[in-house]
């Protein structure tokens, strides 16, 4: 493996990293710092950094390195999570307008950040609408303001630091990730590894001066495209960003021609974190999986350097370097074949937020009268009234009526709109054990399909858990894709014992996660209730059922809405008991035609 090809260059450009003995290949921290440096050299071309890190000293260190590298006077603006359109894009400055009697515009954060860095706080939770507004300015380099009677276009060229404090599945929206060249994860970096950096402002200035004359040739572009393709990175932006990163890296090292080292750095920093698959044409997996630690020193380095410049060989070399830099966690997933094809994490998918009259997050204002519990937005009402003041005053004077200090009319009324999350996720926990499979599994599948169609109409998410044999398995994590759900269901195998407790546990785990994120889970358990496999995989009816009851009680304790559908041919008391312990609605399938089933779920959902 040749992942370390870039090391000598880094060392050559600046004094060696000050960390004592153990610096071998590009340690994650060094690459994280390199990302900050490259982004500073070429802010517009690389877009910025998606910084996955919990708040703490490591993140602080990284940010202070980044900001120390910025030329003096570089603006830095922070976008808070629930930023209003007025603050983000700009609008009418109400106070100044009223004071001066002429329209005064207020600049938004995006305009203020022109030529500098825009920091997105808690970016994993930013609403898609906000991301879209930021991206529009980011892509076009200007803010098109059409608000509060103002229309103007103002330059807004900035790079972004998206602070991703997500845990587990939470993460940045793909609309953001796609635009940022560098995806840096600081969570795995220990505190003492986060040392200061040796690049300084002069290095940056020199590199910036050189950047314009750095060229990348066609074979090199082809290489980056080929590597992206081999790693299953669909978006073309990734390849474009990689080109910019390679050029910035060359400039940093005082070169005007991009070399293999620069390509390797681009592959490592830009492409590796985006991989969704390992290259297919790989020779049969090496006896041992590639070491997940990219720090391993490298003996093959020289050999790699000698490789011919023929594109094919070059591509393979860069691919190797890139592969070696795939983060350990992601690598494990890829190897397990658990590929999230389009890593479209449904973050910021507060998309399914509903408008609500009076609670939830503020979501803009609307003209209208405050009634039915809607709140008058005083500031916005004043804003709407402001331009009319002089006209109305003169009207009243002419009519001989007394003049009020402020003339507000119903037409000015603005009400606040709020949104609240009411997205629900229906989790189907389906018994695929032998006893069920024998009689009712096919029917259960049919029923689930019907329910799915209904979920589709309501734009709910669905998840699918199946249990049977020794344990339970998530067949489908929460998704809105009905087609996937249907496919999963069709391929659902039947047979084996009934590890009921394991099934409930897994469904509950998903439900709990959804609840924590503010969603509404609905657990639908389809079983015949005849548990016969305990949590530890051993047989035994009594114990298995006891455990299932215990799990059921936990579901009730967590206040998860649930529904038990008994799919045994002749309903058994177990099913009813289970439902009772779960605090769930009980529905025996024999009496339930599709319609009744649907109605029951709907009733539960409400």
């Amino acid at each position: 493996m040749s992942q370390t090809v870039a090391v000598p260059s880094m060392a050559a450009a600046a004094a060696p990293i000050t960390t004592p003995p153990a610096v071998k290949g590009p340690a994650p921290w060094d690459d994280a710092v390199l990302a900050a440096v490259l982004m500073t050299i070429e802010p517009r071309g690389t877009g910025g950094v998606a910084l996955r890190a919990l708040p703490g000293p490591v993140r602080e260190m990284w940010l202070s390195i980044l900001y120390d590298l910025q030329p003096p006077g570089t603006p830095r603006r922070r976008v808070p999570l629930h930023v209003t359109d007025g603050r983000l894009l700009g609008g009418l400055d109400l106070a100044a307008t009223l004071r001066s009697g002429r329209p005064v515009a207020e600049q938004g954060l995006l305009v203020e950040a022109d030529g500098g860095i825009l920091e997105l706080a808690m970016a994993e939770r930013i609403a898609p609408g906000t991301v879209a507004r930021i991206n529009l300015a980011f892509d076009t380099g200007e803010v098109i303001l059409e608000r509060d009677g103002l229309a103007r276009r103002t330059p807004s060229r900035f790079a972004m630091i998206a602070l991703d404090e997500g845990i587990g599945d939470e993460g940045l929206s793909s609309a953001l990730l796609d635009r940022l060249a560098f995806h840096v994860d600081l969570n795995t970096i220990p505190y003492d590894a986060a040392v200061s950096c040796d690049y300084d402002l002069e290095d940056i200035q020199a590199a910036r001066a050189l950047l314009g004359s750095v060229t990348i040739n066609d074979a090199q572009i082809q290489t980056l495209c080929g590597v992206a393709l081999a790693l299953g990175i669909p978006s073309l932006r990734a390849s474009i960003l990689a080109c910019h990163a390679a050029r910035a890296h060359a400039a940093l090292n005082g070169r005007t021609l991009v070399t293999d080292e620069d390509l390797a750095a681009a592959g490592r920093l830009v492409l590796a974190p985006r991989a969704t698959q390992l290259p297919p044409m790989e020779p049969p997996p090496d006896a041992e999986p590639p070491p997940p630690e990219p720090q391993e020193p490298d003996q093959e380095q020289d050999q790699a350097k000698d490789s011919s410049q023929e594109p094919r060989a070059l591509e393979e070399m860069i691919l190797e370097a890139t592969k070696a830099a795939i983060p350990a966690g992601l690598l494990a997933q890829l190897q397990a074949g658990k590929v999230r094809r389009t890593r479209s994490r449904s973050t910021g998918k507060a998309g399914a937020m509903r408008n609500a009259p009076s609670r939830g997050r503020p979501a803009g204002v609307l003209r209208g009268e405050p009634r039915a519990g809607q709140r008058l937005n005083i500031i916005e009402t004043l804003r709407a009234a402001a331009p009319w003041q002089r006209i109305r005053r003169e009207e009243r004077l002419r009519a001989g009526k007394p003049v009020n200090r402020l003339e507000i009319r119903p037409d000015d009324f603005r009400i606040s709109r709020f949104k609240h999350k009411s997205e629900s996720t229906t989790i189907f926990v389906v018994d695929a054990s032998g006893s069920s499979a024998l009689h009712r599994l096919a029917e259960a599948k049919g029923a689930v399909e019907l329910l799915l169609a209904d979920c589709y109409v309501r734009r709910d998410q669905v998840a699918l858990v199946a249990f049977g044999g020794q344990g339970a398995e998530v067949l489908l994590p929460p998704t809105r894709s009905l087609v996937r759900a249907k496919r999963c269901l069709a391929g659902l195998p039947g047979g084996g014992g009934t590890p009921l407790a394991a099934g409930i546990d897994l469904g509950m785990l998903i439900a709990d996660g959804i609840q924590r994120r503010g969603g509404t889970p609905i657990l639908i358990l389809m079983t015949d209730g005849r548990a016969n496999v305990a949590r530890d995989g051993t047989g035994g009816r009594t114990r298995a059922f006891e455990e299932a009851l215990a799990s059921a009680r936990l579901v009730r304790a967590l206040e998860i809405t649930a529904l038990v559908i008994d799919i045994s041919p002749r309903p058994q008391p177990q099913g009813r008991e289970l439902a009772k312990e779960m605090g769930a609605l009980y529905l025996p399938l024999p009496h339930a035609d599709a319609r009744a089933l649907n109605d029951a779920v709907r009733a539960t959902t409400r």
Partner: protein, 342 residues
């Protein structure tokens, strides 16, 4: 204003480019919806198109009225002038391509009180909004699926009637607002309201190319553009001009393009086969096919034209079957095969 990437330098994405050109030739097709993967050049294509649209003749009024339009499509001012003088003075202006940014407020979209004049002079005057500015041109909404509902409603109303009506505290304005609606978005961010989807004449799906050579070409050109936009645009100027002329010629030819009865019949059959609602689908297929024929310099619509445009004109008009796994694109393609053979 930032320099747009030249339209002619966009690699591949033929369906998108073709649809935009057809809409430029015949605005009555009813707009284009471009939905698809990230980074496929959706906005790039639309901004590029703006740069090469042939100029149009317009009256010097806030709505840049068409001097040859009938009274219904003139603003009050122009109508009065025309009644008095018999003709309207006009000059050449670029076709407006107006951005409707997310976060725009309603007053700026439909027009409202002129702030400056109201505050400084105490005058009640109407300041036209984006809809007025987009009259006779294009109104572009990026991330159209994230547009706020109340704006969508206002937009639909105007798009349907071709008139914008503002009534507010003594301001009573009615002005023509006929524009080609172009929307783009990514389905991952949420789907488009069906009512809005239906208002677009053509619906285009864009996918990231998977062919290495194509991808490389895209990246190479993009890189070249970003390094020196002016030089790049100059280099592609000739090709852009060629497309511009093609649009101009096609517009001239359009009234002469005939649709044989047989083609009409076959198109109807195709729509019946697909079970599309209403006549709008059929009408759009025919209009788009005519525009395509005109672009190709043909005076007659051929079955090949219908086959080419049918998917874009119909894929968003199929009734939804949540359990049918095949995409609407496949369903239309299948129906085309069944109707016209290979």
């Amino acid at each position: 204003m930032p320099i747009p990437f030249p339209f002619s330098a966009i690699v591949g994405q033929d369906e998108m480019k073709r649809s935009l050109l057809m809409a430029a030739v015949d605005p009555s097709i009813g707009g284009v919806l471009v939905f698809g993967d990230r980074g496929t050049g959706k906005s790039t294509a639309i901004r590029g198109l703006a740069a090469l649209l042939p100029k149009m003749r317009a009256v010097d009024c806030p709505y840049h009225c068409d001097p040859d339009a009938s009274d219904d499509y003139l603003c009050d001012e122009c109508r009065a002038k025309k009644a008095k003088n018999g003709t309207l003075k006009s000059h050449q202006i670029p076709v407006p391509v107006v951005d409707l940014p997310l976060g725009a407020t309603e007053d700026r979209v439909i027009g409202a009180l002129d702030l400056e004049r109201a505050l400084t002079k105490g005058e009640k005057a109407f300041e036209p909004g984006l809809l007025a500015r987009a009259h006779r041109g294009f109104l572009y909404i990026d991330e159209v699926n994230l547009l706020e509902d109340h704006l969508v409603d206002a937009l639909l109303d105007v798009a349907a009637s071709g008139q914008n009506i503002v009534e507010r505290e003594g301001l009573s304005i009615r002005h023509p607002a006929r524009f080609v609606l172009v929307g783009s978005g990514n389905p991952e961010e949420g789907e488009l309201r069906p009512q809005l989807q239906d208002r677009f004449g053509l619906s285009v799906e864009v996918k990231t190319p998977t062919d290495l050579a194509v991808r490389m070409q895209v990246v190479r050109l993009r890189d070249e553009f970003e390094r020196d936009p002016e030089a790049f645009v100059a280099k592609w100027k000739a090709k852009d001009t060629k497309i511009s002329r093609q649009i101009q010629k096609a517009r001239k030819l359009l009234p002469e393009v005939e649709v044989p009865d047989q083609t009409l019949e076959e198109t109807s059959k195709l729509c019946i086969r697909l079970g599309t609602d209403g006549l709008r689908g059929e009408l759009t297929v025919i209009r788009a096919a005519r525009a395509l024929a005109a672009l190709e310099g043909s005076r007659q619509v051929k079955i090949a034209h219908v086959k080419t445009v049918a998917v874009s004109a119909l894929r968003h008009r199929l009734r939804r079957d949540p359990l049918d796994e095949s995409s609407s694109t496949n369903r239309v393609e299948r129906a085309i095969k069944e109707q016209f053979g290979e």
